[in-house]
Amino acid sequence: MLFFFSLEKKNIQKVYTPFDALDVRLKLRRSLITIYSLMKQKFSAKIADELKIQISSCRKKIEMIKETLKFSADVTSFFSDSVFKPMLCHIPPRAVKTLTKSNTVEELENMINQLDFIVDLSKQNNFYEILLSLDTYLKMPKNVLCYAYLDISLYINPKKYFGQQDFSEIIIEMLKNFGLNVKEFIHNSKFQEYLEKAVLVGLEYIAKHIRNKFRQQRDYSKLYQDLSILINESVKFLIIIIIIFLFFLIFV
């Protein structure tokens, strides 16, 4: 008897009412506004943790919205193609993209996934892994809000990765991985000076990496000039390491 009861319980799926559908939509809206408010603030470890909580809550709500899509009303007749006309526009307006209900949920999911990806990216501390992650990010469907957020958060502080970790530490770690014994000259003033320049070039490389691919070709030529200065200076330390660094930048 008990066995049958447990079986029945497993097979029972929650039946949603239109009130559940309304409730979850309002909750999602509240989470989204909280996320946007967090995104407005300066990126920090605390903000990253709060974003993670809101992201996981949004995911649950999106799943519930998918199950309650049948309650959504058709509002296509309320939509106006001419909405952009009275607005000020700096460039000619592009064609308005009309999304279906399922497409809207997909776009929302995509935004949440990308945001989650950015929060995870902020915790990485290996230069090569950062570049690989950025490549993965660039393959994701384009989302202008997340792109802008990544762009802003990466450069809050010109010397710190996501305004948290010193980028010089990431560069030192990379030099160590190449086999350079950094401990020997870490306190050397000339090495510190060199490190500062390497940080700028490294951050600039990351900046170019997330840019438009067509623009990258043009921008990289400028970066190579900076890199050549860096290589000349690196002769004082260990030229082979920097040549590997150069090869790494060009071919990876």
Partner: protein, 105 residues
């Protein structure tokens, strides 16, 4: 959606659409801060976005109030359905015991 006259008397729609508006405005301001984005990086066109009359805090409070209203409705619906289920089970039990009573007699 763009004409407030359409939804000004509907509390749910009004707050919901206002929350979409304020969310859009925050996103627009965030995108504008980005130095590296240029015109061709944007998926939508760069359009101006009118400011919202309400603050985020105010909108969040209003959404929360609506959520409470809905949860009250949901609780009353659930309690009604519980009463219906109880009545149904009670009726079955009565029938069952009457049936047993007649068989025994």
């Amino acid at each position: 959606m763009h004409d407030p006259e359409l939804y000004k008397n509907n509390k749910f729609l009004k707050i919901y659409l206002e929350s979409i508006h304020i969310g859009g405005f925050i996103c627009y301001e965030l995108i504008r801060q980005s130095n590296y984005l240029r015109d061709d990086d944007y998926v939508p066109s760069v359009v101006s976005f009118s400011t919202s009359d309400k603050s985020e805090e105010k909108i969040l409070e209003e959404i929360l109030e609506l959520e409470h209203e809905i949860s009250d409705k949901l609780t009353s619906i659930k309690s009604k359905s519980n009463v219906i289920i109880f009545c149904f089970l009670f009726k079955n039990y009565v029938i069952f015991f009457l049936w047993i009573f007649f068989i025994v007699n």
